[in-house]
């Protein structure tokens, strides 16, 4: 018994040791959001990931935080993260310069159900920086286009200046087999796109209720309205998948910081089929 416990402890300790990654590139997306490309700092490659998973990124001497992987899952040489600078630690992370070394643990967590979505239409609904964990799913679908039905991407942000991956969105919108719509809450006269909340985009989209899988990521309040709209349009709760977020610490289901009802978001989530968490979703205390 003591041997097993010691083994478990050793396993846990190893899981908490970060690999070393070197920042290869930092790209400014918006005034407060940056995309970092991280390559292995040693001969040891960084682990591959599934779309929707996250890493624990360590700014040495400051602390560690969970960040969704936003790059192409096929690209093995680097991991890409899009980070919004909202606090001391994220500010430190986005101010890393090419060549700086950070710690990388993971990838962790559940992923978007892209296997189960094969043969169906895929509806992607993102708000703000919520597009970041969905981008790997879009890369995957575009790379395996014949495996999926229609690809619909609906993306909302506060203003045109807050849209991330703007050039890429324009490229996706030009694809013949994808419907990509972006909207902003308010815009100036230079913005010729849609103005209004992301749920307003549903009127431009024809959904096939039993033939569509929806992948949703954004602030919880946005996801709540999106789910209402989708249920009104006949989509089944089991076909709605959402990415949740809570404060995480260990990333491996050990510390309990990210407990959400009976789940730990880091290991049972962050992506859940809506029907599994609907009784907890929107609860004030959670």
């Amino acid at each position: 018994m003591a041997v097993i416990e010691a083994e478990q402890e050793r396993g846990l300790a190893n899981a908490m040791v970060p690999a070393l990654g070197r920042v290869a590139q930092v790209k400014k997306e918006t005034s407060d959001t940056f995309t970092l490309a991280v390559e292995p700092a040693s001969a040891e490659p960084l682990a591959g990931f599934q779309p929707g998973q996250f890493s624990m990124l360590y700014v040495f001497g400051a602390g560690e935080l969970p960040i969704s992987i936003s790059g192409d899952p096929q690209e093995r040489s680097r991991l890409v993260y899009t980070v919004r600078s909202v606090g001391k630690l994220t500010q430190l992370l986005v101010s890393r310069k090419p060549g700086d070394v950070i710690g990388v643990r993971g990838p962790y967590g559940t992923h978007w159900p892209l296997k189960a979505a094969r043969g169906k239409d895929v509806l992607i609904v993102a708000g703000g920086i919520g597009l970041a964990p969905l981008r790997p799913a879009i890369y995957h679908i575009l790379r395996h286009r014949a495996d999926y039905g229609r690809l619909i991407v609906l993306y909302g942000a506060r203003s045109p200046r807050d849209l991330i991956y703007r050039r890429q969105i324009e490229e996706w919108a030009r694809l013949p087999d994808a419907q990509v719509l972006a909207t902003v809450d308010y815009g100036g006269v230079a913005w010729h796109g849609h103005v209004g909340v992301v749920t307003g985009l549903f009127r431009y989209v024809r959904l096939q209720p039993f033939h569509t899988v929806a992948l949703i990521c954004g602030p919880e309040i946005m996801m709540r309205y999106v789910i209402w709209e989708l249920e009104t349009r006949g989509l089944q709760p089991g076909d709605l998948h959402i990415s949740l977020e809570r404060n995480m610490k260990c990333g491996i289901g050990f510390c309990g910081h990210c407990q959400y009802g009976p789940n730990f978001l880091c290991k049972d989530g962050p992506i859940f089929p809506y029907h599994e968490i609907r009784s907890w979703f929107g609860k004030y205390e959670l």
Binding site: F54, L65, P66, I67, S68, S70, Y81, T82, V83, R84, V86, G87, L89, T90, G127, G128, I129, A132, P133, G156, A157, R158, D162, D185, Y186, G187, G188, V189, W191, H192, G193, H194, V195, G196, V197, T199, G200, R203, Y204, G218, P219, E220, I221, M222, Y225, E245, R246, N247, M248, P270
Partner: protein
């Protein structure tokens, strides 16, 4: 556009889903096809409400001009209506300005004629005001969501 074409177009317009055929006919008799070029001001803020439009193609931005800048607060497109306030009493003035973002095709209705038709035929009036109320409710809801500033909440995981 012939009256038959107008009737067919109205029958398929999302705003009029559930309208009785005689109500559609009544609207068709009042409709006139209108077109706006790109970047044309359809009405100004403060204009007395006059025309009610059902959009057939193109898109329209609702804007609020403020000193130094103009803010776009909503866009409307095919299948939507523009100018619901023209159905209200004539003291009502436009609260936004509307600008065509591309070439726009619409069916226009004189607000005063619509109000008269509602007074003369309560069943038509009820159907029209119910449809308008649905639009107003959804715009109110959208405005509330916009006020919530739903994209701004911040947390540790991107």
């Amino acid at each position: 556009m012939t009256i038959e074409n107008v009737t067919d177009t109205l029958r398929e317009h999302p705003f009029l889903q559930g309208f009785r055929p005689d109500h559609i006919d009544k609207l068709a008799a009042m409709a006139s096809e209108v077109r706006f070029g790109k970047n044309e001001l359809i009405f100004h803020e403060g204009d007395e409400s006059s025309f009610f439009y059902l959009l057939l193609s193109g898109s329209v931005a609702l804007e609020v001009p403020t000193p130094g800048r103009t803010v776009r607060v909503a866009t409307l497109g095919h299948g939507e209506e523009l100018g619901w306030s023209s159905i209200l009493p004539s003291t009502h003035v436009k609260q936004f300005q509307a600008r065509s973002l591309e070439e726009v095709r619409a069916l226009g209705f004189d607000g005063e004629r619509l109000r008269h038709a509602c007074e003369e035929d309560y069943s038509f009036g009820y159907a029209l005001l119910r449809a308008v109320l649905q639009v107003v409710a959804s715009r109110l809801q959208a405005t509330r969501i916009q006020l919530l500033d739903i994209y701004s909440p911040v947390s540790s995981k991107a």
